[in-house]
Structures are given as C-alpha cells and as structure tokens.
Amino acid sequence: MLHPLRHLRDIASRVPRSRFEVLCRAFFGQFFSSETVTSDEQLQRAMAGVLAFLITPALLSPIQMAASFELAALRFPAMLEAMTRQMATVYITYSMVGVGVIAAVMWDTLSFDRRDAMVLGPLPLPASTVISAKITALAIFLLIVAFAVNVITAVPFSMVAGNHQAAVGVVRHFVAHMVATMSASVFVFCLLVTLRAIVGGLSGRHVAFASLLRFLLFSALLCFIVFLPMALQVEPGGRRRQASVQMMTIPGWSPTNWFLGLHEWIRGSPGAAWDAGARRAIAFTVTVTASAVLTTIAGYRRQLQIALAPSATDAVRRAPRLARAIARLATGRSRFARAVSDFILSTIARNSTQQATIAVNAAIGLTLIVASLLRSRGDLTQLLRPRTAVLWIPLVLIYWIAIGLRAAFFVPSELPAAWMFRCNAPLQTPAYWSATRASAIGFLLPLALFADALIGPLIGVRAAAWHAMIVVPVVVLLAETIALTVDFVPFTRPYEPGHAKLKTRWPFYLFGLFAFAIWPARAAMYAGGRPADIVAIAEWLWAVAVVLEIAGRLRGRTWRMDPAEEYKDESAIAVLNIGIVLPNEIRP
C-alpha cells in the first residue's frame, strides 16, 4: 500500500495533466510567492515566523486551560458544561482570528487582479476553467490552513473536555470542535474573499482597505493572545478566600456564538438557543461561501473589463493632501526635499507592503491600549477623566505607528526603479534627511491629532485640545528620531532580513515606549489640565526636538544615495580560486 505522504508528494511533483491543474497550481503558488523578498529562503523564513506566531498560542493555551479545567472539575463539577463551552468559545475565536489574519496577509491573492486578467485573458482558456481553478486553489489553501490551525487545539480540547466521559465522548468533542472551528474558519475566509473581490472590482482604495483590515485582524489576534489567560480563571480558594471560577463573557451579537451553537448542537447539548445558533452558523457559512464564489466569478469578468478598457473612474487617488501639505511646511524652501517627501508619502499611500508593516505595528499599540483600558474591568466612569491609561492613547498608538513607519522605510518599493534617483538626484545632500523627517511628520501628525480627538469624548474636548499641545511635540520628536536612525532614501535599498533585530533591540523599543508614550502621558497627568504646566512640558519637549533637529542637520550632511549598488552585483560573483595558473593570453 502506498504511504499517504508519499502519495501526496507524488501528486505534487508529477507533471500536471490538464489546463485546470496547471492553473490551479499556479494560483496556489501565488499564495506562497512575494515580490518584496528577494529569495525563497527569505520568504520561507518569513512564513515560518508568521506560522510560529499563530500556532504558539494554540499550543500553549490547552496546557494552561487544561490545568484550570481539571481543578474546576474537582471543585465545581456543576460548572463543567459551562467551562467546556468557554473553552470551545476560545478556540472558535482563535480559529476565526487566526484564519482571518492569514487571509489578510494573503489579501492580494484572494481574488483576481488586473495582472491575472492581462496574462490569462489572451490565452485560449474558457473563463470557467480559470475561475474554477482559482476557486479550487482557494479551497485547498483554506482547508490546509484551517485544518492546521484547528487540529492543534481539537486534540487537546477533546482529551480534556471528554476526560470525564467515555471514549465516545472524546470522539464527539473532537468532531464538534473540528466542525465548529472549521465552519468558523470557512465563514471568515469566505467573507474576506468576498470583500476582496468587491473592493478590488469596485474601488480603487483596496490597498488602504487591506491595510485597515490587517490592522484590525492583527489587533484582534494580539488582543486574543493577551486576554487568553483571563478567559478561564479558577481560584482554588483556601481558609480565607472562597474558591471561584471567572469566565470572560462574549457579547450575544458575536458570530462566535453561532458557531458555539453548532458546537453544542453536535455535542448534543439540549437547548433551543443552541439549535438556533447552529442554524444561523450553517446558514451564514453557506451564504458567505456562495457569495465568495459569485464575487470571484464577477471579479474575473470585472478585471478583464478593467484590463481591456481602463475606465476614467479607475484613476489613481491623490496621495494624502494633508500629509503632503504638512511635509511641505516641514521641508522649508528646499524643492528637492519636497520632491523626495512627496515620493515617500505617495509610496506609503499606494503600496500595501509598506502599509502592512505600519498596520502590524499599529496593532501592537491598539492591543496595549485595549489591555490598559480593560484593567478598569468595565468601569467606564474611571475612563471619563484624565488618567494615564486614557492620555497615553494617542501617544502609544502614534509611537507604534512610528515604529512601523521606520520599518516600512526599509522595505523596498520597485527596487530597479531606484536608478532614477541615482541618475537624476545628487548623491549626497541633507535634503534626503530633511525629506525623511518631513514625511514622517506629515504622516504621523494627522493620525496623532485624530487619535487625540478620539479621547475628546472621554476627557472632554478642552482637555483633549490641551493634550494636543503635548502630542504634537512628541510626534516631532518621533520624526526627528526616525530621521536620525535612517541614512538613505526610504524604499530604495534592498531589504535586509531581520534588520529590526527584535531579539537584541527590544529594550530600545521598550525604552521608546516609556520615552514617547508613558512618561509624556504621566507628565500630562502631573500637569492636571493646568495650561501653564502643559505649556511648560511642551516647551521641554520642543527643546529636546530642537536638539535632535540640530543633530539631524549635522548628520544629514553625510546622507547619500548609494551610488555603488551596481558594484554589489560584482561582489555577488564568487570566484573560487582552485590554484590553476592561467596562461597570460586567457587571463582576464
């Protein structure tokens, strides 16, 4: 009998028999290719990192939850059912968030784009073959990803939850878990495929939409990881304290409850609410799956239309005017610096790769904000007055966006096009530094002021306006710091994997969090809304900004457009000296 793994390998390596199979493989390969990284090894490393990040909570949470579950089973046997449902809810949420994050990362490949239409349109291929190949590739990808994400939690869950039942109970828990979580995964994935096809076909803003989606889904994943230990907490009790079980609640409207209903229905739990939830889960999953198929079909036809006859409405949106206007103010009279800052802002506004880097870092900021806000344990009155957890909202968010912005500068955009700078621009000019600093201010300032405005309803418009006095110099400080730590025109150098050096540099990032978010927020608390104190703090911050500005101007003189990029190709030519002496006439 053929080994199943060997059989799979044989299928993967054999020559495809039909056009459908060729296309299906090509579409499937798109999920694992990237134009940003320069080698397969880098891409594999990046993917392994993402998978490790996703799978780690799935591996660790059963261990943590199993201990709580067993303890509660001994002390509170009546709570077993409720705790089983709580665990199931956690894993359904994980399944939805995990698959959502993967789909958001793969956003560009979830539907057809103009390039697909341009390449495949002229070929003698029936549209049905192209579309069915794409749908099949998406389905295979979804099944692999969803199975990998869910089976890791299904096995320990069924062992733990079925521990106090017969073997049939274990199997039933396993089946219920897999069906519920796989359905939840299919629901989220198909929803994103539908959105991708609609947004890609109708709007020119799908890059910004993808970044927003990535930001939200990464935030959800990080929040899930942060709050996982709080999902089920058992207090063993003692002589003075009573034993207790604490479980986080999920709002009734959440789609998680539909899939929990499906889970409970398969487990055979009695109750009309579970049946209704199960019916909803099935109905919504089927509907969203059908809409994904239909929008994929429509998406191909739409992309063909766009490719063959570009419409005037498809014109590119202008780069953010406010950011550019602020950057222009910050560059002063140098038209050269203005040109470079416009280039930087346009690149960020129109490229999903750079935006993704910023979105992921912004998600870290949002997670920290949510975590600190939830420490008030639902007491909203605590948030309706100036306190560090509220005042730091714009600061922490903008700090992590700034970290993302700096990281995005290291991600190249259209690298071969960088010849244009080497050919048309001076090799060495402080204007590069000025442009980088100005574009950072232009990018960060509107976002910071928007985030500051968001805390207006909590602490009052007047207090938020005074807080802006501190937020603005902090933004300038961040921009100055970014410009001090970059010494090239952003996006024009090849990406060096691991340049962030998180393993060794995390203390710097932590220090930055204190310096740019926590300490300014505490200083604002200390000022207590007194205008004179706020102005004094702002003056100090501006003074530091001036020092950094002087340092930046001095360092800016050494900034240069690397003219030696061509030579790197030479160094890449390895010459192996094997000791053969060539005759003179054939020596180079």
């Binding site: 103009r114 570009p310 005037a312 498809d314 014109a315 590119v316 038209r335 050269f336 203005r338 040109a339 470079v340 416009d342 280039f343 346009s346 690149t347 129109r350 490229n351 955009s413 259209e414 071969p416 096009a417 010849w419 244009m420 700078f421 080497r422 050919c423 048309n424 621009a425 001076p426 090799l427 003219p563 061509e566 030579y567 190709d569 030479e570 030519i573 010459v575 180079p588």
Partner: protein, 254 residues
Amino acid sequence: MLAVRRLTKHYGALVAIHDVSFEARPGEVLGLLGPNGSGKSTTVKILTGLLRQTTGTVQLDGADAFADLEAYKRIIGYVPEEPYLYSYLTGPEYLRLVGRLRELPERALNDKIDRFLQLLGIYDDRHQTLSSYSKGMRQKILIAASVLHNPRIVVLDEPFSGLDVSAARVLKGFVRAIAAEGKIVIFSSHVLEVVEQVCSRVVILKDGRIVGHDSVASLRATLRLPSLDAVFASLVAEEKIEERTNGLLAAMKA
C-alpha cells in the same frame, strides 16, 4: 566633446568591455551597436555615471567628466533600456518627481510636463498609474523625463522600444533635432535601420571591443557593402545564419 579613452570594465573575472575609445561630438548622434553581451549597456551605464569603469577615462571638454559627478549628472539625460519606473505613480507625478529632483522651477516644470504629455499623446492618461501604461507609453515617459532639464548630453538606450510607428517617426526627428541644437547624443540600439536613419557616426562593439568606428557612409564605402545591416553582419561575423534559421524552423515544426 565627450571622449571615452581606453575604457575597461571587469565584473569579477568577466571582462564586459576592453580598451574602448571613441568620441561623441556636439551636433551629432553617435550610434552604439553590437549584439547581445557586446558591452553596449555597460558602456552606456558608465557614460551616465551609474557604473564606474575599472580603468580608462571619460572626458568632457578635456577634463575628467566624473571628477564632479553631480555636475556631470546635471547635464546628462538618460533613457534606460529597461523601463523601470515607480509604477504606482501617474505619468505627471513621475515627471514632476524627476523635474523636482533636478530642481526645475515649478511653474515651468508643470508647463513642460503638460506640453510633453500632449505632444506625446498621453495627456488623456495622465490620471492613470504607470502600471496601467503600455510599454510604448512608459517609453514616452522615460524619454520626456530624460530631456525635461534640457540636458547637454543625451544617452538613449533602445529609446524607441515599444513605440508605435508615428511616435517613433516623431521621436527620430526629435533626436536629430536635439543633436542639431548642438547637444551630444549617444544612441544605443539593435535596430540597424533606425541607427542608419538617426546616427551620424557609429561605434560597433563585439565581445566588449570596438570592431568598427566611423560614419555610416564611410563604413559602407570602406567595406563596399550596401547597407549598415550588411556592414554590421560583416563586422560582428554573424555566421551560419541560414543554418540557424532552418534549425529554428525545424524546431518549431517538431
């Protein structure tokens, strides 16, 4: 006058060009010819300052052109062989970026861009990103970008690639006209008919060395051949053409 003296370029053990010398004079279009791998693009990249030679010099009016590389780049315009562009920018945005990097006055720059776009027939596509442009449209953008600053030296590497017939005719005239303005024009191409129409003199490269360097008429007269195509075939010794043609035909039918 731009004078190339004994230019050699090594990529590790590989010799891309060896001992190449020629002159490009104001008012003439100098053609660079040669088969693939002959060293044309390397020569062009050295002339534009993108690549540094291993040995030899490039002199402008008798002085080392690369002594002040920035000053040299200010007077040079370049159309690269590959239309690498920031494809998420629109045509005018790209031209504005180049113009501003060259510090052209804003109003004049905008006027120039509008005029170039109109004259090159891509004004209606000004709101589209370069990713949606055809190869010919991208090539027009590259040509416009290369002459925005009214350069003294223009280096064109396969400039008419992808252009339609009428655009190519207009731009051939344009190349001759800018040479007539007293500028130095270096024109690298594989299309011999175009080189014959546009260039006053040609440099023919093979395996990184010059195998012919004269006016088209003199080369034809010296070698007693009827066309530049025949001169080129004779100098680069393209052998067994019929045999290879038949081989390709047989391979196609197999």
